[in-house]
């Protein structure tokens, strides 16, 4: 074995199915530590960097997520030369990983892309870019002010979302998107038994903000809440 490719971590006791295919044409196996199971693939090859490989990685993580109440996805492309080095690294982070497994247990990640239903003004301001001189510096200054205003607006929306969803979410991650790509990308960690309350909370938030578009995806394995 020349390398170990990682997919995810689960609590001890859950193991991959016997015929689960990995990203390098091998089968997914596991490393059982007393406190953690590592889903991995032993391989001589490095994974190809293409969309199909990304989908395959996600499929393995989803298989683990379906098989156990707690799953911590590993970022794509994580590779160790041998099991001893992997075990040493994981042991150094044991408390952090155990805590994270507890946080994500029995929950899924829901994503929301927040867009504006009328971004025309901002888009026109971006297009009206002067080419030289004082006008350009003033345009840059105006853009910085717009960026600051966007960040403040997104922060306020995030606070409102978090407060209104209350116990329907266990955690929230908020990323401001660059101008021209929508307002924000939001990830929520939603306990499975709270999924209906969460959906209702999002509907209510949307009703309060007709100026926004809410594009929902998920549930996903909890990628955004892994340490």
């Amino acid at each position: 074995v020349s390398g170990i490719y990682l997919y995810c971590f689960t609590p001890p006791g859950t193991v991959p199915g016997a015929d689960l295919a990995g990203v390098c044409a091998g089968l997914v196996t596991h490393l059982a530590l007393p406190w953690l199971t590592v889903w991995l693939e032993e391989t001589d090859d490095v994974p190809r960097a293409d969309l199909e490989t990304i989908r395959r990685h996600d499929a393995v993580v989803r298989a683990a997520w379906a098989a156990t109440p707690a799953c911590l996805p590993v970022r794509f492309g994580q590779w160790f030369a041998e099991a001893g080095a992997l075990e040493k690294t994981l042991t150094e982070r044991r408390m952090e990983l155990e805590r994270a497994l507890t946080t994500v247990a029995d929950a899924g990640e829901h994503g929301i892309r927040i867009t504006e239903t009328d971004p025309t003004t901002e888009a026109e301001a971006e297009r009206a870019r002067p080419s030289t001189g004082r006008a350009y510096l003033e345009w840059l200054q105006a853009r910085m002010r717009r960026d600051d205003a966007r960040a403040r607006r997104v922060a306020a929306l995030g606070e409102e979302l978090e407060a209104s969803l209350g116990p329907a979410i266990r955690a929230q991650r908020l990323d401001v998107l660059p101008a021209g790509q929508g307002l924000a990308s939001v990830a929520h960690l939603v306990p499975i038994e709270r999924a209906e309350a969460y959906a209702e909370g999002i509907r209510a938030f949307g009703a309060r903000h007709p100026e926004l578009g809410l594009l929902e995806t998920g549930p996903w394995p909890p990628y955004s809440f892994a340490p």
């Binding site: 492309g77 690294t89 239903t117």
Partner: protein, 97 residues
């Protein structure tokens, strides 16, 4: 996995803009889901091996991620702009009515 476009509600208008076709909406959601998938798998999840990722995946991954994200966000933005323009074209001039 469940993906859906929850709501895109136009503000009050004299005449609503034309609704995008079902196919356009489906394509928009496909783009979004693909973008969200790539973001999660490449940018999130536990980092264990640090910079080893770069040596395994190589620069192609960065280009792939950027291309997919730009494609999907451009689609979303273009759709929103089209709606904005449609509203502008349909809105009555000030003082009319």
């Amino acid at each position: 996995m469940v993906e859906r476009n929850r709501r895109t509600r136009p503000p009050s208008l004299a005449k609503p803009p034309p609704a995008p076709s079902r196919t356009a909406e489906a394509l928009q959601m496909d783009d979004l889901v693909l973008s969200e998938l790539v973001s999660r798998v490449l940018d999130r999840g536990v980092m264990v091996a640090g910079d080893v990722t770069i040596s395994v995946a190589g620069i192609d991954l960065v280009h792939l991620a950027l291309r997919i994200r730009l494609s999907s966000t451009e689609t979303l933005h273009r759709d929103a702009l089209d709606r904005g323009r449609a509203r502008g074209a349909d809105a009555p001039p000030e003082g009319s009515g």
